[in-house]
Symmetry: C2
Subunit: 222 residues, 2 copies
């Protein structure tokens, strides 16, 4: 809680406040391990929640998408958004149904995104996004051309008003439930890579690159 | 598209409409494989997106939580919500940076949730939730008591206005990019269980149950 000014009444964790964190280090660690977020925006009073990828550079998050998408049109218009990232780490089996839980790490960022106009920042942001998802790939793929850059919108969301929430460890049961005769503990869950599948149209002589073969994220599977 | 009435202008997929599905079978398959959703709601014009678990019975989704939580208070008050479920299936590596993508399956449900008042429906809904996340567990844990039921709110969200979006398969590059000299294909990703970790306070004689040891979801890792 080194930077309590990042928390406002809007991001203050109400439920289970002992699981809350408001420091950048905790938030950045979660934001850097994940790459899929859910963005909430409002159209005529109706909230929408859409999954998309993101990248982080310093205290900014970058999101990209088609200039034609409903979400990006809303965001460009300066609508308030909420960007939420969740890493699911396990199922927590308590003795009582009531105390069952999940281990997870999540970050909520509130704010307004700004369209990245500058061509250099835009290209750099796309590289940040790409390298965030799959480090090493950018330099081995065909770079974006003018037409593609024009079709892509990039938005910048400053990480200013945010909070993190983390649950780790074993179940916590009511004291009188500990003798209850059932197994209790944690079933860890992690997003794990499978065996790479080559494009059927891949020509001969292209080995699976090291950055694909050894893909892992953060504390992934550790 | 057997039930096109489930799609409205609000759930109609604008971007990449060929990836959209509006039939219940597709949506239910995704909703049944996942158990974590992101719920969007609005407070004073600001959208919030919060991760939570859910269960499905027939054409209803059930969500539970503390009666004190901000999200549940909003939902109980009849605020419009958006419940989004996303399964991430892989990274799609194209020749061009621009055509990189992800394989995923997602469902968006719009609507208004209703508090479940009836004690029988409430208990049944909690069982649906528990069995949705970890089939077999409910009967092996200590059942909810009066006090716990009072502390828990259960809400019902009918699956009426919804859409699904699915991307599968290899990358799709521009025809002129296929000779570009790089590996292309899919790196599959799936939420995979690790080795169960017993609660340090677990007494002797409790083996890891079969429903934990053999945990898998839907087309999980297939």
């Amino acid at each position: 809680m080194s930077e309590p000014h990042t928390s406002t009444v809007r991001t203050r964790v109400v439920r289970e406040p002992h699981r809350a964190a408001y420091d950048r280090e905790t938030a950045y660690r979660i934001l850097d391990e994940a790459f899929l977020c859910h963005i909430g925006f409002v159209v005529e009073g109706q909230p929408y929640v859409i999954p998309t990828s993101y990248g982080r550079k310093d205290s900014n998050l970058y999101i990209h998408g088609s200039a034609a998408s409903r979400m990006l049109r809303q965001m460009k218009a300066g609508a308030p958004i909420c960007l939420t990232v969740t890493l699911l780490d396990g199922l927590v089996l308590a003795r009582s149904v009531f105390n069952h839980s999940m281990n997870y790490r999540s970050v909520v960022v509130l704010g307004t995104a700004t369209l990245v106009d500058d061509p250099d920042e835009k290209l750099a942001a796309l590289r940040v996004l790409s390298e965030h998802i799959l480090p090493g790939r950018w330099n081995e793929a065909r770079q974006p051309n003018e037409r593609e850059l024009k079709q892509t919108s990039v938005l910048r969301l400053p990480i200013e008003e945010f909070s993190a929430k983390v649950r780790t460890g074993p179940p916590v049961d009511d004291e009188e439930d500990y003798p209850f005769p059932t197994w209790a503990g944690v079933l860890p869950l992690a997003l794990s890579p499978g065996t790479p599948v080559a494009d059927p149209r891949l020509g001969p002589g292209h080995e699976v690159p090291e950055y694909v073969r050894s893909y892992r994220r953060g504390e992934f599977n550790s």
